[in-house]
Amino acid sequence: MTKINQEQIDRFHSGRMDEAEISDFRQQLESDPSLKAESNLQGDIINGLKEFRKAELKARLDALNVEPTWVEFVQQSTLMKSMGGVIVASIIGTGIYFLGEKNETIDSSAPISVEAPQYESIEYVWNLGLDKDPVNQNNELDKPVLEINSNLVASEIPESKPTQASITLEESSLTDDSQVFKPSFEAPSVQGVEEESEFVSSELDELPENKSNDVSENPIDVETELSKSTIIKYKYYDGKLFLKGDFDKAPYEILEINSARGRRIYVFYLDNYYKVGVTDRLTALPLVGDTEVIKELELLRTNK
C-alpha cells in the first residue's frame, strides 16, 4: 500500500475530500480489496478517536454546574418577568400621571366648559337685575347666571365628578395666569338653595307683583262651613283655608298677597278685614285694626 493511498484513506474518513474525490475513491475501494480492508480499519480507528474526544467533552460538560445562579433565575423566571413587567408598567404609569399633570395646558382660544361637582361650593353672585321686568325675572331665577372668580384655574376642577351646574368660562374672563386650574372653590348645589337669606336681597321682595312660581301659581284651597254665628272661625295649614261662619247672610272675599316675604291672606267680611295666620286649630279670625293696612287692603280690593 502506497503512502498516497494512506493519505487518501485519512482524508476520506476525516471528511476532507470533495465530492469528486469521494466518488473516485469509492471506485478504487470496489476494485481493491486490500485497500478496502485498510480503509475499514482506518475507519474504525478514526471513529474511535472521535468517540474518545466526544466522551472527553461530555465529561467536561458533565462537570459544569447547570443550576441557574440567582441572577439567571431572576432573568429566566416567568414569575419574575411578570412581576418585572408590572413594576415597569407601574413606574411608567406613575410617570405619565405626574408628568402629564405638570404639562397639562388649556387652550384659551375656545370657551372652556366645566362640569361643576354637585356637593362642592362655588363662589358666585346672583344678579337678579333690579331694573328688569319682574315677570321675566321669574324665568331667570330658574337659570341663574353664575360668574366664576377669575382667580380660579382649570386644573383645580376634578374631571369626572357628577354635576348639576354647567359653567361657561369666556376667554375674556381669564387672566393669563388663570389658564391652569386650581381646585380651591366651593360650590353649593344651586338646586339645594332654599333659604332667601342666601340670596342678595333687593327691593323686589317688597313688590306685591312679584309672582314667583312657588307662591303665585298655587292659589289657596278654600273650604267653608255654614253656621249661624257672625263670628268667623278658621283653620289654615298646608295651603288649605277652612272658614266657618254665616255666609248666607253676607258673602266673604279673600285677598291673597304674594311677595318675597311670603304669602299674606286676608278675609273681607261685613266691611271688616281679617288676617289669616297659619293654625290647625279652629280659631276666630283676628280683625285687622291698623288703619294704614286697611287703606292698602281697601285700595287693592277696589282696584283688583
Binding site: D10, H13, S14, G15, A37, N40, L41, Q42, D44, I45, I46, N47, G48, L49, K50, E51, F52, R53, K54, E56, L57, K58, R60, L61, L64, N65, V66, P68, Q76
Partner: protein, 179 residues
C-alpha cells in the same frame, strides 16, 4: 456574548465557548425532551450530542449559520429526540435482532481502539482528536498546542497516528476487523 463572538471562539477551538453555550441553553434544550416523555438523563444526553455536533461543524468551518445558535441547537435537539423515539419504537419489535448483533460487534471494535488510544500520550491524544473530531487545521492545532509551527503539528500528527495504528495492529490481527 454575541453569537458571532461565540462562533469565532469555537473556530479557534476555545472550549470555554462550549461551556458557555451548554450552561446558557441547558434548560431550554432539555425541556424539549422532558416535555416529550423523556428522562433527565435522556434530555442531557440529547442536548450534549446536539451541542457537540454543533461544535464539530462550527470548529471545522463547515457551518453556515443562517439563524441564531439557540434556534440551530433547538432544531438539532428536536431531530435527535425524534430519532431516539423512533429507535425506541423499533426496539420494541423483533426485527432488530440482526441490527443489535452488528451494533454489538461495532462496540467491540470500538473498545479495542479506545483501549489503544488510552495508551497514547496526552499530546498525541489531543493532536489526533483535534484533527479528527474537532476538524481543526494544522495551523490551529499548532497554535492550540503551542507548537513551533504548522510543520511541527503535521509531523506530530503523523507520528501519533502511526503509533496508534501499530498499537492496534500489534494487539489484534487484521481479521478481527473483518466479518
Amino acid at each position: 456574548m454575541k453569537d458571532s463572538e461565540i462562533l469565532a471562539g469555537i473556530s479557534r477551538g476555545d472550549e470555554r465557548m462550549l461551556d458557555h453555550l451548554y450552561k446558557k441553553y441547558y434548560r431550554m434544550m432539555t425541556k424539549i425532551v422532558l416535555s416529550n416523555n423523556g428522562t433527565e438523563d435522556e434530555a442531557k444526553d440529547v442536548y450534549q450530542e446536539a451541542l457537540l455536533a454543533f461544535w464539530q461543524k462550527a470548529a471545522s468551518g463547515k457551518l453556515v449559520l443562517t439563524s441564531k445558535i439557540s434556534t440551530y441547537l433547538y432544531s438539532i435537539c428536536l431531530n435527535q429526540w425524534r430519532k431516539e423515539l423512533d429507535r425506541k419504537s423499533r426496539l420494541s419489535s423483533e426485527e432488530v435482532d440482526g441490527e443489535e448483533y452488528q451494533t454489538h460487534d461495532a462496540k467491540e471494535r470500538l473498545k479495542i481502539v479506545t483501549d489503544c488510544i488510552g495508551q497514547l500520550g496526552d499530546v498525541c491524544k489531543k493532536v489526533l482528536t483535534y484533527y479528527y473530531f474537532d476538524g481543526l487545521g494544522m495551523p490551529d492545532i499548532a497554535k492550540k498546542m503551542n507548537f513551533a509551527n504548522t510543520d511541527t503539528a503535521k509531523t506530530k500528527k503523523y507520528k501519533c497516528k502511526k503509533k496508534l495504528d501499530s498499537l492496534i495492529k500489534s494487539k489484534y490481527t487484521t481479521e478481527d476487523f473483518f466479518d
